[in-house]
Amino acid sequence: MSKEFIKGNEAIAEAAVRAGCRFFAGYPITPQNEVPEYLSARLPEVGGHFIQGESEIASVYMVFGVAATGIRSMTSSSGPGFALKAEGISFLAGGQIPAVLVNVSRGGPAIGTIEPAQQDYFSAVHAPAPGGFRCFVLAPQNVQEAADFVYEAFDIADKYRTPVYVLADGMIGNMMEVVELPKMRDLADLPSNDSWRFNKYNDDGTARILSTYMPMGELMQNKNKEMAAMYETWEKEEQRWEEYMIDDAEYIVTAYGSSARIAKSAVKELRAEGIKVGLIRAITLYPFPKDAFDKLDYTKVKKMFCAEMSIPGQYIYDVQNAVLGRSEIIPIQTSGGVIMETDMVVAAVKENL
């Protein structure tokens, strides 16, 4: 396999095509504009379709419609666009329609900033929209993972019939890195969706209905229980994380996405000075990798540090919920597009030895 030097947003777009994505609808917003730009040229080359919708709301419902026919589909945006797409995302979850959502996030509420930040954690992980559902959420830390996770997101979406959310940021979207792109999938090899897709009749010849409306309370409750059971399966089977130098660690830094790669540099620097520090990086944000924190030997851990490019902290709530008071957790935070610095993480650990 050859390696390419490619921009994050373009790697996301190309990986989607190679995963079998044949429909994209979206509306422009920095810092993700190269995703639709790239796909507007690339999708027609492979017999797919690209639509720049008249709005984010229209775009997500176009994805809803096409994905309901079993065609792998994606939309992307940044935080403010996801606010508008929220209703459609809830309908994707409620209709059990597989789709991939990519958020190249921004730096604050409202219009935010376009610079790198991790302010959309709650939005992605806990409340993409009302109704009490979950998205499967993956957080890449570099361009390679952005490509790999988008590629795999389509398989996860099909496996569970769920929207899968890839949470990136302006750094990952706009930087170029050396990447090995995944192989082109043959559409004939994709898993069959004949059992549920809308444009196929039931075995008894009746038309299919993909409805999110349950007229009876009990039917809705049953549906919600089914969904909850699926989320429990994810929590049991799909947690993912990376551990780095934690075996003898007295200090643990935890982070995800862009801030994790920066935290890792800090861990290397601190290790070079003989300080026993390790890193836990969350890869799935939902299901949250609780097991990584559960299996720590808290008699050895003196302190923990939670690094994120968000103020107020958001990731830290899930970390606290996993650590359950077994260790002090010290926040290390930047926001608004102020990129976390290795020195900042190094200094925070040293101040707390």
Partner: protein
């Protein structure tokens, strides 16, 4: 060994092109590389900058706050970024457009009349290639062969421009020797 360089100038000076060329060259040479541009409301004549990191191992932050090297293509870039260079680091100053001198004795300063050299060669457009040569000559992050290979690759079918670009590249290397 991880080496960072911030390249800054006016939009249109080829700042992003040099950055990308370094990234492509490093990638072709089997190294880790990152290119992180200023992005958003950029325009011709406005300011533009990018950070390139070339490394033998996995890269941490692509947007470091302390630079090993700065390439200042114009005066505002020098004024803004010179203070971000580490002690022991270096600055390549495009002395055709920057009048300031590096005053910190702990920072190596190299002055290259990139625009004048380019004009002498017959095209102001190759000023960035002069600087590319200067960077490769000074940093050692990539070989001269890597640099020339990427110039050839980027020019693609425009073979008639290759000789002038090679000359510009060589002049850049000579300027830092």
């Amino acid at each position: 060994m991880e080496k960072s360089v911030l390249i800054a100038g006016f939009g249109g000076q080829g700042v992003m092109s040099i950055g990308k060329m370094l990234g492509y060259a490093a990638s072709d040479a089997g190294k880790y590389a990152s290119f992180y541009p200023s992005y958003g409301a950029e325009q011709r004549g406005g300011t533009a900058n990018c950070t390139v990191i070339i490394s033998d191992e996995e890269i941490g932050s692509p947007a470091v706050s302390k630079l090993d090297m700065l390439i200042a293509m114009n005066q505002p870039s020098f004024d803004k970024f010179a203070k971000k260079v580490k002690k022991g680091g270096s600055i390549i100053v495009n002395s055709s457009l920057v009048t300031s001198k590096v005053e910190d004795p702990d920072i190596e300063a190299v002055y290259v009349d990139a625009n004048d050299i380019a004009n002498d060669l017959g095209s102001p457009k190759v000023a960035n290639i002069v600087i590319l040569g200067a960077y490769i000559g000074l940093s050692g992050a990539l070989s001269e062969e890597d640099g020339k290979a990427i110039i050839k690759k980027m020019l693609g079918g425009k073979a008639d421009l290759l000789e002038m670009n090679y000359q510009a590249f060589d002049k850049g290397i000579q300027a830092v020797k």
